[in-house]
């Protein structure tokens, strides 16, 4: 029996984002939100572990009321329980506040054997919440995991590092962060969706009223980078274009002569 907690973040679908060329800022209107990709892998891995060893899968997500959609999606995939930790403005939360809130919430939920997070969220990609949460919970972590086996109370995990694959053994409770190579998240079937519709998303307060979680990192500005390009039109007949372009690229050293 393995009691697993999965942390999932609701993010914008970054593939649908556009930039306003005048203000250089992000256009988020009409962009859908979803569970961050690797967090879905985390949930899938928790479900696979439950299928093999029994136990439970509890999903925790943080955020505004829209985050309950992410929690519902997790129930559709097969999570036993899903909690939304209320927070008015998740955009202002940094990894410090996020991990502190998650740690407080997880302690309230109860005992666990495993915590699984995605390697990083696809929007901020800082990869800080998982390891910080492990530190806060006082447990070891194994990050960048692409393969997991559970045997008794020991987890063996293969880590995908830049220079090597590293296999690590860790006693439970332990926190894992997983990569997208670890599995292919299931797509809920109609019967899974019907089953999930009988469950409700639970809400949870992480902190004490009036005591906000401290943040450290503040975003001063976030703008699309501008690269000034020459935007020179190369015109003529195709053969002339090719000739002058090749000569110009050789002249300026873009191509070695």
């Amino acid at each position: 029996m393995v009691r697993t907690i999965v942390c999932a973040k609701q993010v914008y679908n970054v593939e649908g984002l556009k930039v306003d060329p005048k203000t250089r800022s992000l256009i988020t209107e009409r962009v859908d939100r979803k569970i961050s990709d690797f967090d879905k892998n985390a949930l899938e891995e928790a479900l696979l572990i439950r299928e093999k060893h029994g136990g439970s899968v509890t999903v925790v997500t943080l955020g505004p009321p829209t985050a309950s959609d992410a929690a519902k999606d997790a129930l559709k995939m097969g999570a036993d329980d899903a909690y939304v930790i209320g927070s008015a403005d998740t955009e202002q939360l940094d990894a410090r506040a996020t991990s502190d809130m998650l740690a407080a919430a997880i302690r309230r939920i109860g005992e666990f054997d495993l915590v699984i997070c995605g390697d990083a969220s696809i929007d901020m990609y800082s990869g800080q919440v998982g390891p910080r949460l492990a530190e806060r919970l006082g447990i070891p972590q194994v990050s960048h995991v692409k393969k997991v086996t559970v045997s008794g109370s020991v987890v063996t995990a293969e880590r995908d590092l830049e220079e090597a694959d590293e296999t690590v053994e860790a006693p439970m409770p332990v926190l894992l962060t997983v990569t997208k190579e670890i599995n292919e998240p299931r797509i809920p079937t109609i019967s899974m969706i019907i089953k999930a519709s009988k469950k409700t998303v639970k809400t949870l307060d992480a902190g004490e009223p009036g005591a906000p979680f401290a943040t450290s990192v503040k975003v001063l500005k976030a703008l699309a980078p501008m690269t000034e390009r020459r935007r020179e039109a190369v015109e003529g007949k195709p053969a002339e274009i090719a000739e002058s372009l090749a000569r110009q690229l050789l002249r300026e050293g873009a191509v070695e002569g």
Binding site: Y12, V14, E15, L17, K18, V19, P21, L26, A95, R96, I122, Y125, S126, Q128, V129, G130, P131, R132, E135, P140, Q141, V142, S143, L161, E163, A164, D165, T167, V168, E169, A170, V174, S216, K218, V219, L220, K221, A222, L223, A224, P225, T227, R229, R230, R231, E232, A233, V234, P238, I241, A242, E243, L245, A246, R247, L249, L250, A254, V255, E256
Partner: protein, 326 residues
């Protein structure tokens, strides 16, 4: 606690990255009028500590402990956290490898501070606080961030900055620091080094990239010939790798693929959505070939060819061959 004010500390488990951090760390330390310290953690690393002392570190803290035999995040974070609590650095730069980012996170949690990750630019503001630029939303935005608590921790990806040069006639001091560390709960049972691949897209000096303007998979040959003529590599935009699967993901340039910086990037039949631009923005010279005169790629190009890639690309290959033979 020794009040040492505004020191800059650097740490990476990789010696080459530590030298890069010393290069950037020197600039910051000079800006603060502070000293620059490198941390060396592990077993049998005296030689490395000596090297760093001659590459610009004013002080090198050397911690040798059996708990640091493998680069596991818990003991490394414990060692750095204890030293930082004792000496109170203002800035801590950590090499942004996968291991380094894990360590940074745990150190920050211990010290109740924050980490700005993947910093591509670092500087001091008017209050002499560290301010850093990092990509967000997969590189669509560059976010300027500040860490308001101390130490201000930042992770810096490998190869983001030049390595420090040896300092003539100046040697830093190597200080052995004894730190009590708990034995790690995790155990490394196997390390399988990865095979080094051939030239990846990140290292290519020329990339010829294909988009939806290429009608059939077989036609990629036309682009491959240009790439081969220029000693370059073939790349593509996301539809070709993710939807049509004409090319493997390792050739995908963009938000969900590689971030490249060749000397020459030739975008053939690529419309130029921001998700693609994110991957090729670092290119020195960009050529776009597209039949659609309104394609956004032309806004992001140095040379704009409003024409048919099926006509232009083979002629371009031939032109290079002819001119370079002379």
């Amino acid at each position: 606690m020794t009040a040492s004010g505004s020191n800059v500390w650097v740490f990476s488990e990789r010696a080459d990255v530590t030298l890069e951090l010393l290069g950037k760390g020197r600039e910051l330390a000079d800006g603060l009028g502070a000293s620059l310290c490198a941390l060396v953690l592990g077993t049998a690393l005296e030689h490395e500590a000596d090297t760093l002392a001659s590459y610009g570190a004013d002080k090198v803290f050397l911690v040798e402990n059996q708990a640091l035999q493998n680069t596991l995040p818990e003991p490394f974070a414990e060692a750095i956290g204890k030293l930082a609590s004792q000496y109170g650095p203002q800035i801590l730069l950590i090499g942004g490898t996968r291991r380094g980012r894990d360590i940074a996170a745990r150190v920050a949690a211990k010290l109740e501070t924050g980490v700005i990750t993947d910093c591509v630019a670092l500087g001091l503001d008017e209050k002499r606080m560290l301010v850093a630029d990092r990509p967000s939303y997969g590189g669509i935005l560059v976010s300027t961030e500040i860490c308001t608590t101390r130490p201000q921790i930042a992770t810096v990806p490998p190869r983001a900055f030049e390595q420090a040069a040896p300092r003539q006639g100046q040697r830093g001091q190597v200080i052995r620091a004894d730190v009590d560390l708990a034995p790690p709960k995790t155990r490394v049972v196997k390390i399988a080094p990865k095979e080094v691949r051939g030239v990846g897209l990140e290292d290519a000096s020329v990339i010829v990239s294909a988009g939806r303007g290429v009608a059939k998979k077989e036609d990629l040959r036309i682009l491959q010939e240009l790439a081969s003529e220029l000693g370059g590599e073939l790349g593509c935009s996301s539809p070709l790798a993710e939807d049509l699967k004409w090319l493997p993901l390792e050739r995908l340039v963009g938000l969900t693929g590689r971030k490249v910086k060749p000397k020459l990037y030739v975008a053939c039949g690529i419309s130029g959505q921001v998700q693609h631009i994110t991957g090729m923005r670092g290119s020195r010279t960009v050529v776009a070939i597209n039949t659609d005169p309104e394609a956004p790629i032309f806004q992001q190009s140095d040379y704009c060819v409003k024409g048919d890639l099926y006509e232009i690309v083979p002629l371009l290959t031939e032109a290079f061959r002819r001119i370079r033979q002379k």
